[in-house]
C-alpha cells in the first residue's frame, strides 16, 4: 500500500512538472480538495476552484488525473473525469494529440481503477481507434467490466460469423453482463449444449421460507417480526391468520426466481421471510445482487444491509447491488419480502432472485451449493424480468 501511494505521488508530480502553469504542489492540493467532496454537496466550492486549477493543465496532466481516480469516491471520480475530458479536448483540438504511449502504459496496469482504465482506453480510441481495437483483444479477462464487455462482444461476433459453439462457450466463460451471457447461452442451447445458468450467475436456489405475516396498508414493512430478531428454523410463529413455520424451498427457475406465491398462493397484503446459509471459501468482499418488484429488506449474518419499500415498478437481474463482507465458513442471509394490496394484473408477483458475485458480476459459489435442479437446466419460455 505504501509503495503504491509513493508511486501514485511520483506520477502526479511527474505529470505536474510538465503541466502548463500548474505546480506540483497545486496539483496535489487540488486533487486532495476534489477527493474531499462529501455528501450533500459538501466541499463543492473548494472542489470547483480545484477543478479549474487541474483543467488548466496540459495533456501531461492526464496521467495524474487518471491516477487520482484510484480510491476516489464516486463523486470525486466524476469531478476528475470532467477534468480529464477538458484537458484531453484541449490536446486534441489544438492538434497536439494525446500522450497515448503513457496512457496505454497506465491502462495496462490492472491495479488502476477499472472505470478510470476504461476512460483511458476511450482516450486512446478517440485518437487511435485501430490501436484501441487491437488492445481490446487482450482484455477478455480484464477486471474492468466495460473493457471486458467489448472483448466479449468481439468473441460473440466471431462466434456468430463462424457458427462456432467453441467461441460461444469462450464468450460465456468470460462474459459478465447479463445480455451477453443470455446471448451465449441461447446459442449454446441451440447447438444442443446444456448450460447451468443458475451456476453461471451464482443464483441462490435453496431457501427456507416462512409466512405469511401481515402487511396490510404496507405496515408490515416496518414491523419487526420474530425472524428479524432470531432465525430458528424449528420455531413456529404467529402469522397473519395461523401459526406459520419454516418450509424448504428450492427454485427451479433458471434465473433463480424464488416465487413466494407458489408456496402460499396468491396472497395480498402479506410479508414472508426467506433464509439461507452460504458457506464461503474465504473471508472476502462480495456483492449481493437482487432483483425484485416487491418491497424488501436484507440481513447478512444478522446485520441489516438495505431495504426498499417500492412495489411493482419493475424488476430485472442485478437490479440492486449491495456490497457485503463474507466471513469464512457459514454466512446467513435473510430476506424479507413484502407484497402490497394492489389488485391490478401487474401486481401479482411476490418474488425475488438473489446471487452472490464479485464486483465484476462473476459468481462466487458457495461451498455448500447443491447441484442445480434438473428443471432449472431446461430453458423455459422467456419472461420479461
Amino acid at each position: 500500500m505504501k509503495t503504491t501511494t509513493l508511486k501514485t505521488a511520483a506520477v502526479i508530480f511527474a505529470g505536474a512538472l510538465c503541466a502548463h502553469a500548474v505546480s506540483p504542489g497545486e496539483v496535489q492540493k487540488a486533487i486532495a480538495a476534489i477527493k474531499a467532496v462529501g455528501p450533500e454537496g459538501e466541499g463543492n466550492a473548494k472542489a470547483s476552484d480545484a477543478w479549474l486549477t487541474l483543467s488548466k493543465g496540459g495533456d501531461d496532466m492526464l496521467i495524474p488525473l487518471l491516477t487520482a481516480m484510484n480510491g476516489a469516491s464516486p463523486m470525486a471520480a466524476n469531478w476528475l473525469r470532467g477534468a480529464v475530458h477538458t484537458v484531453a479536448d484541449k490536446g486534441i483540438n489544438s492538434g497536439h494529440g494525446l500522450p497515448t504511449g503513457a496512457i496505454e502504459e497506465w491502462l495496462r496496469d490492472t491495479r488502476n481503477d477499472p472505470r478510470a482504465r476504461r476512460l483511458a482506453y476511450d482516450l486512446i480510441k478517440q485518437v487511435q481507434p485501430q490501436r484501441a481495437e487491437w488492445l481490446i483483444k487482450g482484455m477478455l479477462n480484464d477486471p474492468s467490466v466495460e473493457l471486458r464487455r467489448d472483448a466479449v462482444r468481439n468473441v460473440l461476433n466471431d462466434a456468430k460469423a463462424r457458427s462456432s459453439t467453441k467461441l460461444y462457450q469462450k464468450a460465456l466463460d468470460h462474459a459478465r453482463d447479463v445480455d451477453q451471457i443470455q446471448t451465449a447461452v441461447a446459442e449454446l442451447r441451440k447447438a444442443g449444449k446444456t448450460v447451468d445458468v443458475p451456476k453461471q450467475f451464482g443464483f441462490l436456489m435453496d431457501w427456507q421460507v416462512v409466512g405469511p405475516f401481515d402487511n396490510a396498508e404496507k405496515e408490515g414493512f416496518a414491523r419487526k417480526y420474530a425472524p428479524e430478531s432470531k432465525v430458528n428454523l424449528k420455531t413456529a410463529y404467529d402469522g397473519k391468520k395461523d401459526k406459520v413455520k419454516w418450509e424448504a424451498f428450492t427454485s427451479e427457475d433458471q434465473y433463480g426466481m424464488v416465487d413466494i406465491n407458489t408456496v402460499y398462493g396468491m396472497e395480498k397484503g402479506v410479508t414472508a421471510y426467506a433464509f439461507t446459509e452460504y458457506e464461503a471459501k474465504e473471508a472476502r468482499k462480495a456483492e449481493l445482487r437482487l432483483g425484485s418488484k416487491n418491497a424488501w429488506k436484507i440481513w447478512v449474518n444478522g446485520k441489516f444491509i438495505f431495504g426498499r419499500d417500492e412495489y411493482h415498478r419493475g424488476m430485472r437481474i442485478d437490479q440492486y447491488r449491495l456490497p457485503i463482507q463474507l466471513q469464512k465458513g457459514k454466512n446467513t442471509i435473510l430476506v424479507k419480502l413484502c407484497q402490497d394490496e394492489q389488485e391490478k394484473p401487474w401486481t401479482k408477483e411476490w418474488q425475488f432472485q438473489l446471487r452472490v458475485s464479485d464486483a465484476t458480476g462473476a459468481a462466487i459459489l458457495a461451498q455448500n451449493r447443491k447441484p442445480t435442479p434438473a428443471a432449472a437446466l431446461k430453458p423455459k419460455p422467456r419472461k420479461k424480468r
Binding site: N44, P74, R308
Partner: protein
C-alpha cells in the same frame, strides 16, 4: 443573507434573461409558448441540420444564445452520462462531458436515463438524470459542482425511471424527486450545489416537473403531486399555499400569461394563485380537457391538451368549455406541443412533426414533416427554429 429587494432583482434577472432563449422544459417559464416565427409549411428543406447523439434521451434540447445543450446516456445500462453542447447555427459540437451514473439506472424500456430536461441560466447549465445525478457546468463545459442525489438519499429512485425536470428561480434550483420510497423536493444553491432546503414529499411515484408561477406578485415554485398543488417560496421552501384534491402525476401544470395556473386535475383545473391557501381561487374545472402524457398549452384565450392517442382538444380559458377536437396524425403522443404565432407544433411518437393552425373555428393540420425516428421528447423553440431530439439524433428545423 440577501435582502428582499436583492432577491426580487435576481428573480427578475433570471427570468427576463430567458426572453430570447429556451432555457428549460417547455421554455419560457414553462408555458410552451414562443414569440418566435416558425415555418408553417414544413419540408425536408427546413431541416437546417441534424446531428447524431452519443446516447439515448428524451429530454428536450435547451438553447441559450448560440449554444444548444442536451443530455444523453449510453452503455448497456445507460450508466454513462453525457452533456453535449452544440453550435446552434451549425450543429457542430462545441464540447461534450461524460460522467458515471452514481444512482440506479433501471427504467421502463420506453423511457431512459436522460429523461429530465436540463435547465440553464446566464452562467450555468444544470443537468439532472433519472439516476438522480445532478451536474452543474458553466456554458463552456467547466464543472461547477456535482451531486449524486441517490448517494445522498439512497432510496430516492423509481424502477420505472424518473423524469421530473428541474427549474431555476432566482438563485435556487428546484428539484422534485418523488417516488414510492424516499420522496423529496429540494432547493439547491445554484452556485455551490448545496441544499438551501429539503422537504419530504408524498411517498408516491410522480413524474411531473416543478413550475414557476406568480402568487400575489411573487415567484413561487409549484410542486404538483397526487396530493394536489403546493406553492413554495423558492428560496426557503416554506409553503405559500396549498390546493388539495389531487392532481395528475404525469402531465405538469402550466402557468400562463393571464396569471392562472392550469393544473392537470379532474381534467384541467384552473387556479388563480393567492398569497395564502384561503386566497387561492378555483376558477373552473373541465373534465373535457383531460390531457394524456403531455402538459397543457395556453395560447391567447385558448387552452390546448393532447391525449395519448393524438386527439387535440381546444378549450376556452374563460370557463374551460371545450370548443373543438381534432384527431392529429398518428396514434401515440408523448411530447407536449409548443405554440408560436397562432400555430401549434406537435410531434407524435413516430416522429411526425405537425403544424396545426388553431386560429380558425376548428384546428387543422396544415403541414407535416416525417423525421422517421421515435420522438418522445418535447420540442424546443429558439432562433426562429424548432429543436427536436430522438434517442439518437437532434434536428434544427427553421425557415
Amino acid at each position: 443573507m440577501k435582502t428582499r429587494s436583492t432577491l426580487a432583482l435576481s428573480l427578475a434577472l433570471s427570468l427576463s434573461i430567458q426572453a430570447d432563449n429556451w432555457t428549460q422544459f417547455r421554455g419560457l417559464d414553462g408555458a410552451s409558448v414562443s414569440g418566435d416565427k416558425l415555418p408553417t409549411k414544413l419540408d425536408k428543406k427546413n431541416i437546417s441540420w441534424s446531428v447524431d447523439l452519443p446516447g439515448r434521451g428524451l429530454s428536450s434540447p435547451i438553447v441559450y444564445g448560440n449554444k444548444v445543450f442536451l443530455s444523453a446516456a449510453s452503455g448497456p445500462d445507460q450508466r454513462r452520462l453525457h452533456v453535449i453542447c452544440l453550435n446552434a447555427d451549425t450543429g457542430k459540437q462545441i464540447w461534450e462531458r461524460q460522467f458515471w451514473a452514481t444512482g440506479r439506472t433501471m427504467t421502463h424500456p420506453k423511457t431512459c436515463v436522460a429523461a429530465p430536461t436540463p435547465v440553464c441560466d446566464g452562467e450555468r447549465v444544470y443537468v439532472l438524470y433519472s439516476s438522480n445525478d445532478l451536474i452543474c457546468l458553466d456554458h463552456d463545459g467547466n464543472v461547477k459542482w456535482l451531486r449524486g442525489l441517490t448517494l445522498d438519499y439512497p432510496n430516492a429512485s423509481n424502477s420505472l425511471g424518473m423524469s421530473s425536470s428541474p427549474i431555476v428561480i432566482g438563485d435556487t434550483l428546484v428539484v422534485q424527486v418523488e417516488n414510492d420510497s424516499e420522496s423529496f423536493a429540494a432547493g439547491i444553491n445554484v452556485q455551490t450545489g448545496v441544499n438551501r432546503w429539503k422537504l419530504d414529499r408524498p411517498k408516491a411515484a410522480n413524474w411531473t416537473s416543478p413550475t414557476v408561477a406568480k402568487s400575489d406578485g411573487k415567484y413561487v415554485a409549484i410542486l404538483q403531486s397526487s396530493k394536489g398543488i403546493h406553492a413554495l417560496n423558492p428560496r426557503s421552501g416554506e409553503e405559500v399555499w396549498y390546493f388539495g384534491g389531487g392532481a395528475s402525476t404525469i402531465p405538469s401544470s402550466t402557468f400562463a400569461g393571464d396569471g392562472v395556473l392550469y393544473v392537470p386535475a379532474n381534467g384541467i383545473t384552473a387556479l388563480k394563485p393567492g398569497s395564502k391557501t384561503k386566497d387561492v381561487k378555483e376558477l373552473w374545472v373541465s373534465g373535457q380537457l383531460k390531457p394524456g402524457t403531455s402538459s397543457p398549452v395556453v395560447m391567447g384565450q385558448n387552452i390546448f391538451t393532447v391525449n395519448s392517442i393524438g386527439v387535440l382538444t381546444c378549450g376556452d380559458i374563460n370557463g374551460g368549455k371545450r370548443l373543438w377536437q381534432i384527431r392529429m396524425k398518428g396514434k401515440k403522443f408523448s411530447a407536449t406541443p409548443v405554440a408560436a404565432g397562432g400555430f401549434l407544433y406537435a410531434v407524435n411518437e413516430e416522429g411526425l412533426v405537425q403544424v396545426i393552425d388553431v386560429k380558425g373555428e376548428e384546428g387543422e393540420v396544415i403541414s407535416t414533416l416525417d423525421l422517421g425516428e421515435t420522438v418522445l421528447g418535447t420540442p424546443s423553440v429558439a432562433r426562429n427554429s424548432l429543436f427536436i431530439r430522438s434517442d439518437g439524433r437532434v434536428w434544427k428545423i427553421g425557415s
